[in-house]
């Protein structure tokens, strides 16, 4: 089917501003991705999948400018932890700020430097390409084709400390495209932390292959810069008895679209995706999730909480697809918004598609104001209104935050949220 002219024009306009990097082993994958992208075209507001989120500023040739936030009031997240730091500034790797990339149980290479035949060849663009059906994700294809850098993480054992990808934003017009590949061998275990705004506009793609009995924890905090924009994709493939848990905290940002596609291919696997976002004013946040169960006795959870005020918008499009034969699937999905005033809105499209008969899937979506009864109760015990509202707000996101296994990480993120709330009140 021929693409509409508007789509073709938009796509070519964007492509004209990009050049395929010299990628060595990744060149064929990049060529393929470019062909995929040309075939589907970049998203426009007419696309069903982009009904609730306007894609235009994500696809323009130049990134709309975004002021850099002066973050002197807060130390960067995770700073107090023992971790392996990998720093990108506006999408450019900073060797000076990064740690030495060698660590027991894992090999880390930079995409831009791994010119030789590489293990990542079997994954780079492969999981992304598979994730293009049944719904097209053109920004991910664009990413595969044009990613300027990223990390290729091969986890072979139990990694002793988390790998922390840090994305600094220093240039108000930066337009970053990063692509990571994370491969866990059977039984391997790792924690990936990500934090920072990355750029004025950030296109990120992560391909994750979790082999049998392997475990990956992923905790991400998208930066506080008010005007930044981001379109991110995670494509994860889960083997037998594997575990993948991903949590994202988003505070501020003008536009964020986080897509997560999980393909559960091995029996007895566990996949949790969760997120909490806090938005005030010009804030649009979209979680688009697609979990496919294609194995027996697997568990998946999607838990998303959005706190919105002053005209902020939250979007949730979440799907659980249970393929024929994926018996004993335990699927759970909840998306909820706390609207702190009448101006904010939450748009939700929860979906279940089930082709097996012995499954337990539940989903729910709600939006509401702060619980007046609870507020009165807290105040009647002497808790000032503002503090009481904050307690209830943090309680609201608790279900999502508790999806993070490590309690100290839960606490660290909740502290950030509490600080954000406190700033709104002062």
């Amino acid at each position: 089917m021929a693409l509409p002219q508007a789509k073709l024009d938009a796509t070519e306009a964007r492509l004209s501003a990009l050049a395929l990097p010299e990628g060595g082993w990744s060149d064929p994958a990049r060529q393929d991705a470019l062909a995929r992208l040309r075939a589907m075209g970049l998203p426009t507001a007419r696309d069903e999948y982009w009904k609730y989120t306007r894609p235009d500023t994500l696809v323009t040739a130049d990134a709309p400018a975004a002021a850099v936030l002066d973050q002197d009031d807060e130390t960067p997240l995770f700073a107090a932890r023992d971790r392996l730091k990998i720093v990108f500034v506006d999408g450019v790797f900073s060797a000076a700020d990064s740690d030495d990339l060698s660590l027991e149980g894992v090999s880390v290479d930079r995409l831009a430097e791994a010119k030789d035949i590489h293990w990542a060849k079997d994954l780079y663009g492969v999981l992304e390409a598979q994730g293009q059906t049944p719904v097209a994700r053109p920004l991910a294809a664009l990413n595969t084709a044009f990613a300027s850098d990223g990390v290729l993480i091969h986890v072979t054992g139990k990694v002793s400390k988390p790998i922390n990808l840090i994305y600094r934003h220093e240039d108000s017009t930066s337009d970053a495209i990063l692509h990571h590949v994370i491969k866990l061998d059977a039984g391997a275990e790792a924690t990936i932390l990500e934090n920072g705004p990355a750029a004025a506009r950030f296109n990120q793609c992560i391909e994750v292959d979790v082999a049998d009995s392997a475990t990956l924890h992923h905790i991400r905090a998208q930066g506080r810069d008010h005007e930044r924009r981001a379109a991110t994709h995670i494509f994860a493939r889960l083997g037998q008895e594997s575990t993948f848990k991903s949590f994202t905290l988003t505070v501020n940002g003008m536009l964020t679209r986080n897509e997560v596609m999980i393909d559960i291919t091995g029996d007895d696997a566990v996949a949790h995706v969760a997120g909490a976002c806090m938005g005030d004013g010009a804030f649009h946040h979209d979680d688009t999730i697609f979990v496919t169960h294609d194995a027996v006795n697997c568990e998946s959870r999607q838990v998303f909480k959005k706190v919105l005020r002053n005209g902020a918008t939250g979007v949730f499009q979440g799907k659980i697809l249970v393929k024929p034969g994926a018996q004993k699937t335990d699927g759970y999905q909840i998306s909820q918004a706390l609207l702190l005033d009448g101006d904010s809105q939450f748009l939700a499209k929860p979906e279940l598609e089930i082709y097996a008969d012995d499954v337990a899937c539940s989903h729910g979506s709600t939006s509401g104001a702060i619980d007046e009864e609870g507020l009165f109760y807290l105040r009647a015990r002497g808790v000032p209104r503002g503090t009481a509202e904050d307690l209830l707000t943090i309680a609201f996101i608790a279900e999502a935050v508790q999806e993070i296994e490590d309690e100290s990480l839960q606490e660290e993120l909740v502290e950030r949220v509490a600080a954000w709330l406190a700033r709104r009140r002062s």
Partner: protein, 251 residues
């Protein structure tokens, strides 16, 4: 301690008068009980005193130790020493009982210009008080009132009261839903707080509670007014004969 004069209250949303001139004074050191038919306005009185939204005071006044209560925010009333044990304690998912109580204790202390309680001290005090109310550590960790049985919720209210050490305690049907043993625990909890500087207003339907918490004064409320006031014998009369005689008497 608590001085209520000619209090008239209507619903904010509709034209419905609920309290129609309540006069009531609770002196420091005394326990007053209020009994009265369902719907007579007992809970409404307790809500209005604690500052709940939805009610409009059209006439009259209420003061705590000489300070105008009706002029204060909900939390200010609490810090001034007013405490309401709710007829229906509210469940707050996601907020731990301990966090909640510590925040409350310290917020009140701060509002009064007192020093905040350290975590260690708080833990010590709450463990002791919870123990005497047979509230175990697991219940303290759970979210406020979530999954608590009716009786556990009521005991939790008394624990809060014991921690906050208010000047004026209003108990709205704290006995309802309690088994005999729990009733005794709750009554002991209340009695332990009785002292010359503290006032109590106990709303109840049953003499049973008043066997344990001996009131100094008993009031009968009907249709938004106190229609009769007497000693402990008044509660016994209600227990025996119901409200018909008293209602007929004042009609």
């Amino acid at each position: 301690m608590l001085e209520i004069k000619n209090l008239h209250v209507k619903l904010e949303e509709e034209d419905k008068q609920i309290l129609k001139g309540v006069d009531l004074t609770v002196e420091a050191g005394k326990v007053h009980a209020i009994m009265g038919p369902n719907g007579s306005g007992k809970s409404t009185l307790s809500y209005v005193l604690s500052g709940k939204d939805g009610y409009e005071v059209t006439e009259g006044s209420a003061a705590l130790e000489g300070k105008d209560l009706l002029d204060m925010d909900v939390e200010e009333r609490a810090a001034a020493g007013l405490f309401l044990a709710f007829q229906y304690p509210v469940e707050i998912p996601g907020v731990g009982n301990m966090t909640f109580l510590r925040t409350a204790v310290n917020a009140q202390r701060k509002a009064r210009g007192e020093e905040e309680m350290s975590s260690a001290e708080f833990l010590k005090v709450i463990r002791e008080k919870a123990k005497s109310l047979k509230i175990d550590a697991e219940m303290l960790k759970r979210p406020v009132n979530v999954g608590f049985s009716g009786g556990e919720k009521k005991r939790n209210e008394i624990l809060q009261m014991a921690m906050l050490e208010p000047r004026m305690c209003i108990l709205d049907e704290t006995d309802s839903g309690l088994d005999v043993d729990a009733m005794k625990l709750v009554a002991d909890g209340v009695n332990a707080l009785r002292d010359s500087g503290r006032g109590f207003l106990v709303i109840t339907h049953y003499q049973r509670l008043l066997d344990h918490i001996k009131p100094d004064v008993v009031h009968i409320m009907a249709d938004g007014r106190i229609i009769k006031t007497g000693g402990p014998e008044l509660a016994l009369e209600v227990e025996k004969n119901g409200y018909a005689d008293i209602l007929a008497e004042v009609a």
